[in-house]
C-alpha cells in the first residue's frame, strides 16, 4: 500500500516538475562553422583568449535583451575578452562543409543544442562547384538523423555566405544554390531560418570579417535567433496557465 502511494507521489512529481524544468531551461545555442566562427585570419597574432568572432557581440545583444542562453561546443576561446561571454563553440579553421559533416553528429550527442548558428562553405570555394550542395545538405541530414534518434528538435539558422571579393561569382552562385536548397528543405518540414550575411565591406584580409564585420554579423543573427528562441518558448507556453492554477 505504501509503495503504491510512493509510486503515485513520484509520478505526480515527475509530471509536475519535469515540464517546468523544460520551461525554465536555458536555450542551448551552438555556433558552428569554420574560421569565421572560431575567429582567425592570415597573420593573426592574437592568442586564443582574445578571439571572439561574432559570438561575443551576439552574447551581449542577447544579454541586453534579457535572454539567458548557453553557447555550447567542444572548443572555447575568448576568455580574456571583456565583457566576458560564453566562448564555447564549434568553429574549425580551414574546414569544408564535408569535414563539418563528418564530425557534427558526435558534437550534437555531446552538447544537445536547441539552436545551431551555421555559417559554412567558404573553404569549399577551393574544391567544389558552387552548385554542389552535398556537403551542406550532409550537415543538415546529420542534424535530422540526430533529431530522429533522440526525439528532439533543433532550429538551424543558416547563413548565406559572406562574399569573397577575389573569388569571382563563386559565392553569388553558392548562395543562389543555397536559397533553392533551403526552400526545398523547409517545404519538406525542416526548421531552418535563413539569414543573409552581407558584410563584405568589413573584411580584414579579403576573407575574414574585422571586428566591425563581426558586430554586423551579430546584428544579422540576432533577429533570427530571437525568433527561434520565442518559437521554442511558445512550444511550452501552454504550461504557464496550468502551473498558474496548480500553484495558486
Amino acid at each position: 500500500m505504501r509503495v503504491q502511494v510512493m509510486k503515485k507521489i513520484l509520478t505526480l512529481t515527475l509530471f509536475l516538475f519535469l515540464p517546468l524544468t523544460l520551461l525554465q531551461a536555458k536555450v542551448k545555442i551552438m555556433p558552428l562553422g569554420d574560421s569565421i566562427t572560431w575567429d582567425w585570419y592570415y597573420g593573426d597574432t592574437r592568442p586564443a583568449a582574445y578571439l571572439h568572432s561574432y559570438r561575443n557581440h551576439l552574447w551581449y545583444k542577447l544579454s541586453d535583451a534579457g535572454y539567458d542562453v548557453d553557447f555550447v561546443g567542444s572548443r572555447t576561446n575568448g576568455s580574456a575578452v571583456s565583457p566576458v561571454f560564453d566562448g564555447n563553440n564549434e568553429g574549425y579553421t580551414g574546414y569544408t562543409t564535408h569535414q563539418i559533416k563528418s564530425l557534427i553528429y558526435a558534437k550534437l550527442q555531446a552538447t544537445s543544442p536547441d539552436i545551431i548558428l551555421l555559417h559554412i562553405g567558404t573553404n569549399d570555394s577551393m574544391y567544389y562547384s558552387p552548385y554542389d550542395m552535398s556537403g551542406i545538405e550532409g550537415i543538415l541530414n546529420e542534424i535530422d538523423r540526430y533529431e530522429n534518434a533522440y526525439n528532439t528538435h533543433i532550429t538551424v539558422i543558416l547563413a548565406r555566405l559572406i562574399p569573397l571579393p577575389k573569388a569571382g561569382s563563386w559565392v553569388t552562385n553558392f548562395n543562389s544554390s543555397l536559397d533553392t536548397m533551403v526552400a526545398n528543405r523547409i517545404a519538406n518540414g525542416d526548421d531552418i531560418i535563413k539569414v543573409n550575411m552581407n558584410v563584405v565591406s568589413s573584411l580584414i584580409d579579403g576573407i575574414h570579417p574585422t571586428n566591425t564585420g563581426y558586430a554586423q554579423m551579430a546584428d544579422i543573427w540576432f533577429p533570427a535567433l530571437e525568433k527561434a528562441i520565442k518559437d521554442r518558448e511558445d512550444d511550452y507556453a501552454y504550461l504557464i496557465p496550468v502551473y498558474g492554477l496548480l500553484f495558486q
Binding site: W40, Y42, G43, D44, T45, R46, P47, A48, A49, V72, G73, S74, R75, T76, S79, G87, N88, T93, G94, Y95, T96, Q99, A110, T122, N123, S125, M126, Y127, L164, P165, K166, A167, L203, D205, G206, I207
Partner: protein, 125 residues
C-alpha cells in the same frame, strides 16, 4: 567495516576512471618523440572547453604553439596546419620559413586543412 572497504574501493575506482582522462601518457609519449601524442596534447592546451576540461590541463596558447611546432617537426601533418595558423604569434619562429611553408608541409603530408589554408591564401587582399 565492510561498508568502509566498499566505499574505499569505489573511491579508488572512480579516482582511476577520472585520472584515465589525464594527459600524463600523452606527455610521456610526446617527450619520447611521438608526434601524434604531441599533437593531442597541443589540442588540449588549445581548445579544451570549460565544460569538458581535463583534470590536469588548463588552456595555454603558448604551450599549444610549442607542442604543435614539435608535432610538425616530428612529421605530423595536422600539427603543421595548426602551427601554421599560429606561426605569426610564435615568439621563437624560424624567420626563414613562413605560414605558407607550414601549410604546404601539412598539405604534402596529407592534411586537407593545410591544403585548404594554402589555397585560400590566393583570396587574400
Amino acid at each position: 567495516m565492510i561498508k568502509l572497504k566498499y566505499t574505499l574501493a569505489l573511491f579508488v575506482i572512480l579516482f582511476s576512471i577520472l585520472y584515465a582522462n589525464s594527459f600524463t601518457k600523452e606527455r610521456m609519449d610526446c617527450d619520447a618523440g611521438n608526434a601524434e601524442a604531441c599533437y593531442k596534447e597541443a589540442e588540449a592546451y588549445a581548445f579544451t572547453s570549460d565544460k569538458i576540461k581535463k583534470l590536469d590541463i588548463q588552456r595555454d596558447a603558448q604551450q599549444a604553439i610549442v607542442l604543435y611546432k614539435k608535432s610538425c617537426t616530428l612529421g605530423y601533418a595536422k600539427g603543421c596546419s595548426q602551427y601554421g595558423m599560429r606561426y605569426a604569434a610564435d615568439t621563437e619562429k624560424d624567420p626563414s620559413k613562413n605560414d605558407a611553408y607550414y601549410f604546404q608541409k601539412a598539405c604534402d603530408g596529407g592534411d586537407l586543412t593545410g591544403c585548404t589554408l594554402l589555397k585560400m591564401m590566393t583570396l587574400r587582399k
